[in-house]
Every structure is written in C-alpha cells, then in structure tokens.
C-alpha cells in the first residue's frame, strides 16, 4: 500500500441473498483528501462504509484500511477512525458535555480536547444542556464533534448534512474543510451534488452498486462538457444561451465590440448532469 494511501478497495462485491448490492468497487483514499461517494438512495454507499469499517463482511474482493485488511480488523480500529452515519444517535438524557466526556474516557482523550471540540462546533455555550433538547442542526454538530474527538486519521461521513437547514450545512462544510486542512482524510457519502462539488477532491459516482465514473468534480464536469454553451445577459436584460459555433462566436464578438454584454458564463455541466448523462437516471429518480 502506498504510504499516503489510507484506504484501498479492490474488486469489492457484496451480495445480499439474491441481490448484488456492490459490484467490483475499486477506489483509494489518500491522506488529507476528501473523497465523495455519490449516488441515489440504495446505490450501495452505506454498505461500502460498513464494509470498510468492519461492520459488514464483503462477499468478494479486498479492502484495506490503514494497512490492515478489513477482514482482520477488530475494535481497536475505531481508535483511529471516526464514523458518522445518518442514524448516529446521542444520549438524550445526558448533557452535551457528558455525551463527549464519556467517549473521551473510552479514547483516553483529555477533557481539554472536549472543550476544544465544543468550541469548534459552537456548542460550548450549550454544554450543560441535555442533549435531547438540542435542535437537529446542533445534534448533528454534536455527533460530528464526537466523531473527531480522538483526532481520527480517517473520518467516515454517511450523509452528514441530510435534512439539515442550509446554514447548518454550511457550518458543517466549513468544519470539514478545516479538518481536511489539519490532514484528516474524509470519506463522504452524499446524494447532494452541490455539496460534493464544494467539498470533495475526488468523487466516485455510484449507481446500482457500481462506480460508473470517478475523478475530481472539475475533471468530470469538463469531460462531459461535449456541447459547449455560453450564457449571456445583454444590456437590454435579454438572456440568451448560445452553443459554440462559428456563427455564435461571431455574434458574441460583435456584441462585445458594441459593449452590449452585461455578463457572460460558460455552461459546463454540473455533477448532476454528469450523473444523468452517465447513468441515464437523475439522482432523485435513480433509486425509484
């Protein structure tokens, strides 16, 4: 395993009775990288995380995490990784502080780190509040705080902002980028393409258990930018979208010379369009 490769999945497949949930998954995660696993519900994102973190055994293939085959890992792996799933719960009857301090005891983390993390997720003022009284956004921040309390080398996030309001999602994005800056590797599953574009260094598009495309968001968007188009706003407030052709280039050039253009944008496809192009299904409909 390459020195800065922390996670290496090779030909991973998973079969549930008759259903093939994952088909020949190959992917690596490097140090300080955010890798996005994108796909609609039921694509196999959570199954992949469960296999990597030793909660589920693959049917075939090899998964290595921090140089150890996932078949051979035991509970001690959780001292080096953090896991947040969309169903990660909190102890509602305990205070915010207790929720973290109990896990600090398990991981032998000093209480000063609890304080630090609470400041980081902006929950320090709420530390004496029963966790059950937190809002959904605050609860998710507490879950995230618990997952990074022991400074894991890899953080697994399964739909971390699902169902959150935009401002909470933004604050979580900010936190994740901060953790990346600190050198933490993040394996993120989401069906939110905008989130993936914003956060991920690389994304893998997962559809019906198979990686159908992989690369940096920019790379993928440019790769599938086959019909180049330009969006223009003219001085008379007219909006036009023009395909790249000799006639349209001449038209744009003429408008430019006459200073008739207020703004101009190239129209690269979004990750959502890429997904649609590759799979023939949109993210919303793909799972149906």
């Amino acid at each position: 395993m390459e020195q800065n490769v922390l996670l290496d999945l090779s030909h991973i497949s998973k079969r549930y009775k008759t259903e093939l949930a994952l088909k020949d998954i190959n992917i690596t995660l490097h140090k300080g990288e955010i890798l996005g696993f994108l796909g609609p519900s039921g694509a196999g994102k959570t199954t992949t995380i469960k296999i990597i973190t030793g909660q589920l055994r693959q049917t075939s293939g090899e998964a290595k995490i921090l140089d150890t085959d996932t078949v051979n890992i035991d509970e001690s792996i959780y001292e080096k990784i953090g896991v947040v799933s969309d169903q990660s719960g909190i102890y509602e009857k305990m205070t915010v502080w207790q929720n973290l301090s109990m896990f600090a005891k398990i991981w032998r983390v000093p209480s000063v780190r609890v304080e630090e993390v609470l400041h980081q997720v902006e929950l320090y003022e709420h530390r004496k509040k029963p966790a059950g009284k937190l809002s959904r956004g605050q609860t998710q921040r507490l879950v995230l705080a618990r997952a990074v309390l022991h400074k894991p080398r890899i953080l697994f996030l399964d739909e971390p902002t699902s169902g959150l309001d935009p401002s909470t999602a933004v604050s979580i994005h900010k936190m994740l980028l901060g953790l990346k800056e600190e050198g933490m590797s993040i394996f993120l599953t989401t069906h939110n393409m905008e989130e993936a574009t914003k956060l991920c260094d690389r994304v893998a598009l997962l559809y019906q258990g198979k990686i159908v495309e992989c690369g940096s968001p920019k790379e993928l968007c440019l790769k599938y930018n086959q019909n180049k188009k330009y969006h223009l706003l003219l001085n008379n407030q007219e909006e036009v979208v023009l395909e790249q052709s000799p006639q349209n280039i001449a038209k744009i050039s003429e408008w430019m010379q006459r200073d008739e253009i207020q703004c101009i944008h190239s129209c690269e496809p979004t990750l959502e369009h890429v997904f649609l192009q590759v799979t023939g299904a949109s993210l919303g409909l793909a799972s149906m």
Partner: protein, 246 residues
C-alpha cells in the same frame, strides 16, 4: 488499564441512562413498595404478628419481583433503548468490545438487584438471626447474574423498548409467577424448584420458617445449569447478529 477505562465508561453511561429512565427505575421502587405494603396488609389481617408462612410469602413476592422485573426489564429495556435511539452502534464503533459492553451493561443492575434483595429481606419482617447472610448473598448473586444474562438475551432480541417488554412477559410469567405462587400449589412448588428464582425464594422461605437451610445438589445444579444455558443462548444469538442485526 485501557480495558478498565472503557468498562468504567460503559458502566457510567448505563448508570446514567438507566437511573434517568423512569419506566425502568419504577421496577426496584415498586418491588420495595409492594413488599412493604403487603407486609402492612398481612400485619393488619393477622393482628400485628406475622407468621413464618406469611413472611415466606412476602419474601417470595419481593425476591421474584426483583429478580424478574429488575433483571429482565432493566437490562433488556436499556439495550433496547440504545437500539431505538441509535446509540448502540455508536458505542460499538468507538472501540468498545462486546465483552466490555456486556459487563458494563449488567454491572449496575446486578449491584442494584442484590441491594434490593437485601432490602426485601430486611423489611419483610424476618428475624435476621434466622438468616445465613453469606449463603443468601451467594445465591442472590448467582440468581441476579442469571437474571442479567437473560435480560441481555431480551435486549439482543428486542428491536425497541416496547418489544423488550413484550419479550420479557413470558419469561416473567415463568420465572416470577411460579415461585411467587409456589406456596399455594404443590405442583407449582415442585416446578419452582427447577427455576433459579425458585431456589432463592425457597432459601428465603426456609430462613423465614426457622430452618437451617443448606443448598441441595438440585439447587446447585439448577443455578449452575441455568447460568450456563443462559450464557450459551446469549453467545449463540450474539455470534449470529452481534448486539444489533444489520
């Protein structure tokens, strides 16, 4: 040292969760209250003087209630609550081992059950000079342990707290009702001798009636056998799905 720290943390989490769950904590309180109330009622009916048979009935009631309600329900419901609130998987993905979770989960209920057994003994009206405390504590400890393991089995099988209660009821009918009414029917008394709850209530009844009680080979076989069977059932279920089925 590391293992002890994790065990302490799990036990502390369980202590906070159980002690703040009114539905669970009503069990031990109800046991003590019932014993106390039944003792008063029996005293009134018998003109203030409790006969050994009445003390024996009070003890059977209190001990059976304690071992079943506190063991099956307290341990089982607490695990079911963790499943319901999605904290069990969090704990199991935080480097806590299955064994640490097992011991941490039963520690507080085990201690509480033994304390309640002693409280029941003291408030039942029995003369403490008639009680062989060491033997009672020993049998109480083994019976409490069996009850806790059975509670863990309930927790493994239950999906939520309501489900844990439902699973506990048939167990309670067998392990609580039979020893409780063993004094009223010869058949029930005979069956009670094959139950771990029956062994302890029989022992307490013996003390109440002023007999010098010694554990018979059958009692020892019942206690050890039921402990082994409950541990085996737990292990089989645990190996199949862990604490939570995917």
């Amino acid at each position: 040292m590391d293992n002890i720290n994790k065990l302490k943390a799990v036990a502390q989490i369980k202590w906070i969760c159980i002690s703040r769950n009114t539905a669970i904590m009503i069990g031990p309180l109800l046991t003590v209250a019932m014993v106390w109330m039944v003792k008063i009622l029996y005293s009134i009916n018998s003109g203030g003087d409790l006969s050994p048979i009445l003390v024996s009935l009070i003890l059977s009631l209190g001990i059976s209630l304690n071992l079943c309600m506190d063991g099956f329900l307290m341990v089982g419901t607490a695990i079911a609550e963790e499943k319901e609130k999605h904290t069990l998987r969090v704990l199991m993905t935080s480097s806590v081992t299955g064994m640490q979770y097992f011991i941490g989960s039963i520690l507080f209920p085990f201690v509480l059950m033994n304390i309640i057994n002693i409280v029941v003994l003291v408030i039942s009206g029995i003369s403490m000079s008639q009680v062989s405390v060491v033997a009672f504590l020993l049998v109480s400890a083994v019976a409490s342990l069996i009850s806790c393991v059975m509670g863990m089995i309930v927790g493994l099988c239950a999906k939520n707290q309501m489900n844990a209660n439902l699973i506990s009821y048939p167990l309670m009918i067998v392990f609580m009702m039979i020893p409780m009414f063993g004094n009223l029917s010869e058949k029930l008394h005979h069956i009670s001798g094959f139950l771990f709850t029956g062994v302890l209530t029989e022992m307490a009844s013996g003390f109440a009636e002023g007999m010098s009680y010694t554990l018979k080979p059958l009692d020892i076989a019942v206690l050890i056998g039921e402990l082994i069977i409950s541990i085996l059932v737990f292990l089989v279920l645990y190996r199949r799905n862990g604490y939570e089925k995917d």
